[in-house]
Symmetry: C2
Subunit: 564 residues, 2 copies
């Protein structure tokens, strides 16, 4: 592409409404432009990057024998009602009615349609296995779109679905995708970890996530000092390794605690530590009020809590609801005598004589023990903390932040059973198909790479995803010899189908260099005065390293970066 | 692709709910599957064809220097309100609200967003011209989706937009797209005509359509026996070439016409011809009732009528409305004394002493003349008929049917003015950008090719769009030599990146041949018993022609079809 004849722009100023390094740089580099919250235009320079990401994904999927198809985004609502997922997605799904008032949704993921599609073939065990995928636009009405392309409401996803006749077959298909995803992440240049994750609204037997490491990542990846344990914080078990308190249990009693509401205030009042308390947290889970009890120095893990309840949506209870079930002002909830079901973290079993709210304004109970109330269930409900013991080796856990760029799910027979998609086995029996599903967000991959590869000058794309691998910058486009050499190199690249950018604009050299650095072209040839002595300058974006290359060698050097 | 290891199916029975040859065959060939009215899954075999169509379009756009980008489909409704098109699209636009109750629409076309995007560069006259395009999913809530992929509600469109500083520049950009579209249509193998068309809801200076010829086409293409005149029926002028009647005008009078309502019944009653009548048709145009008068032997052209009124939506008036403005039962409307505006076709000026409805049940007026009522406007309002005279040369007009697969619009400054997108000219003046827009429907192209290329056995894709150019069919997959040769040929093709299908399934030869014919693979090599004598059979799908090819020659023959 010759810049003098192209649509091209960059912005000098930081974007006002972007909240991450990658989104600010992508906007400034003329790669994306926001149209509304969580929705972007992918501008020509950004489309080049996105097309490279798409291409890598398609190549690796095809290499595993997966077959591409294309599903609609506009899907009758009943499709998700039949599978039982309409409620689970709730207001995350964009919903609409057509001109005949028929209800539709915009697909957030396509398990249902793929299961239907699969039923076109797969009638006999002989037809299996196969893997179908698409690269298609998804819609999710996120509560808080943010970080540019990382959490958006309209985005392209590669979603693949494997179909097998048994669990072993599924394991094989899953492994092939695991391998393909590793190859994709490697080619994208991403630094990533693969972690166990919650199966969530997808359901199924197993889920793993590909997490691109980044301080802005919304997921906490739990690792271990001593072994290769790796897990999403949402599902990491808090090990039950503390010894039980040896303090003799005594009967509980009520105590007036005026002007003390927070754990710290009440602890100060009693002269105790937060770990001597049990917090009672009230939530609205699918419309029902429930209480969760956790040790005073711990946080509730909402994902674990929702899983325990089988809830689709859960949020902190409204003040009215708290006052109704506790018969007290907010801040005095406790498990004794509360008018709602109580779920208790299992660590409390080891605690003796703890303090809880008394469900009475300005009052707490002290010396409470687990025998004093009746929880509905006792389970691991807490968030792990850095330094907790590893569930595998017992060494301290470590935390990192990650951006979820891909995920794998062993769905098992969940969808084929609910949608009744069966095959005939060797003994002529009808059996449900075993499914896996495998997703990668394209824009999110692009943003994660941008988040990992940048400096104060701008983006620093790895070769495989750069919009152009090489930029040829002409210092003076009035200098005939400079233009002649630049055009020769440009033609050489075009002849070999190498993607190359020629900056032949009437701009000062400084402007051109800044632009090439901002948009992150990995290699740059500068055609300047040296050209009359047969010399060019070669600059690496990632290191800033410069060296002289002679006209005689330049074609070999170019070939090297494209053919390596 | 080896069929034995792939997801693959065909259907023996005709599709029950498909109303065209192409959609029936595409469904039976396992290329598409309907999910709801006007919405389809593109199955793996169909995706192969669609990808080839996409590729041809992208190559030809890139060859003209157009730059690809990607817009969202989910667009704030206000974007279309600002440009004044929200009303024009009416209920053809899918509309929805997000979780925060903000109104959105699904984009039916993207002039507005491209105009906004263009304003990122194009600040000075020096930045022009440029052409931006996308290959992206569009949504239109069609009243009557039909003919499979031809009239759908979700579809992929290539839409390009050119940006210039003046009308001359626009003309150049338009010509480049005209040329690219001809190349695209030729490569798709389509038999087509380019016709002048109505600018409609798009507005602008000029519109031309690429019409793929087909009896099921919903557009009537008007041609001429004597010259190369070619036009969409919607805008073809009915020439005003009849001499005025020489009959002396007489005063009109009312006549009771019991049991006669249709033109034919009333004509029989009066002993006259339909051409002696004037029909009065009542419509609801954007909520207002209006009457159109046309000669009794002519049909109203609704596109012309809407254009005259500047109406966005128009449909026949409801019975209540007819009775309210005529004060009579339905069937007796006429221009004299009706309670709504009357618009009159200009041919009526030449008629004397005609018959009209009397706005009184079971009554007509006879001997009416144009002086007897006051039309709001007199214009060309009729549909042309085959045999009418050509507006250019006067010879008889001919009709053909076409499927609109592409269109070009010279938009001029309509959008840049309404959205205030300006550039600075040489004299430092702010001026609006000149725009063109250029669309091609991908699925519709695919369906139009399928509609033009088929026979009683199935589809007959031209080489450039076939899912696979060549099929290798093994007669017996238990015969080692046959499998060995087939695999050799398959590997030869893969090595050269030729798209090839190997039918190595455990099926009877007849089933395999039928499938290859149904899915329309242009060339077939049959590996059968002859292979032990070094001979293979080569069959052409389009002609059915068969010939023997020796093993020594086969690679050259294969190379020929891919490299030609």
């Amino acid at each position: 592409m010759k810049l003098s004849q192209s649509f091209f722009y960059t912005l000098r100023e930081n974007a006002k409404d972007e909240d991450s390094v990658s989104s600010n740089l992508l906007v400034r580099a003329g790669m994306i432009k926001k149209t509304s919250a969580g929705i972007y235009m992918i501008m020509p320079m950004g489309k080049k990057v996105l097309a490279k990401v798409e291409n890598i994904i398609r190549e690796e999927m095809d290499a595993k024998g997966a077959q591409e198809l294309l599903m609609p985004a506009l899907i009758p609502e009943e499709v998700y009602e039949k599978s039982g997922r309409r409620e689970a997605f709730g207001s995350n799904m964009f919903a609409l009615h057509d001109r005949n008032d028929r209800p539709y949704v915009l697909g957030p993921t396509h398990e249902e349609l793929f299961t239907m599609a699969a039923s076109m073939d797969g009638k006999s065990y002989k037809d299996f296995p196969y893997n179908l995928y698409q690269i298609q636009t998804k819609y999710r009405d996120e509560t808080r779109p943010r970080f540019g392309l990382i959490r958006v409401r309209e985005f392209i996803m590669k979603d693949a679905y494997s179909f097998d006749t048994d669990e072993e077959g599924l394991a094989k298909s899953y492994d092939a995708m695991y391998d393909a995803y590793c190859r994709i992440m490697d080619r994208l240049g991403l630094k990533y970890k693969i972690v166990r994750a919650d199966t969530g609204a997808m359901g199924g037997l197993l889920s793993e996530e590909y997490q691109a490491l980044s301080p802005i990542g919304e997921d906490v990846i739990v690792g271990c000092e001593g072994c290769d344990f790796s897990s999403n914080m949402e599902i990491t078990e808090v090990m039950d390794n503390k010894p039980e308190s040896t303090e003799p249990k005594v009967p509980y009693s009520i105590k007036e605690t005026p002007n003390a509401k927070t754990i710290d205030e009440v602890a100060a009042f009693f002269g105790k530590q937060p770990s001597d308390f049990v917090k009672t947290l009230l939530y609205n889970a699918d419309g029902k009020i429930v209480a969760f009890c956790v040790p005073g120095d711990r946080e509730l893990n909402e994902a674990k809590a929702m899983k325990l309840l089988g809830a689709n949506e859960m949020e902190l209870a409204a003040f009215d609801d708290v006052e109704r079930v506790t018969h007290a002002k907010v801040g005095f909830a406790g498990p004794i005598g509360i008018d709602c079901p109580v779920y208790m973290d299992r660590q409390i079993l080891k605690m003796h004589n703890f303090i809880v709210g008394a469900n009475k304004t300005d009052h707490h109970y002290e010396n409470v023990n687990v025998e004093d109330f009746q929880p509905e269930a006792i389970a691991d409900l807490c968030q792990v903390k850095e330094g907790d013991v590893c569930p595998v080796c017992g060494k301290p856990l470590t935390f990192e932040h990650g951006i979820e760029v891909g995920n794998l799910f062993k769905l098992g027979t969940k969808y084929s059973k609910s949608l009744n998609v069966l095959y005939t086995d060797q003994d002529n029996q009808q059996k449900p198909i075993w499914m896996g599903c495998y997703g990668i967000g394209l824009e999110r991959c692009m943003a994660a790479v941008a988040e990992q590869y940048n400096d104060e000058k701008g983006l620093m794309w790895p070769d495989e995803v750069a919009p152009f691998r090489l930029a040829i910058v002409v210092i003076s486009n009035k200098d005939e010899r400079q233009m002649e050499v630049a055009d020769q190199l440009y033609d050489f690249c075009k002849k070999h189908h190498y993607d190359v950018l020629l900056d032949d604009r009437k701009e000062r050299p400084g402007v051109k260099f800044k632009d090439m650095e901002l948009i992150g072209i990995p290699h740059r040839i500068t055609v300047g005065r040296g050209v009359k002595d047969g010399m060019l300058e070669w600059t690496e974006r990632s290191t800033g390293e410069k060296r002289e290359v002679s006209l005689d060698d330049i074609e070999d050097r170019i070939t090297e970066i494209y053919e390596k």
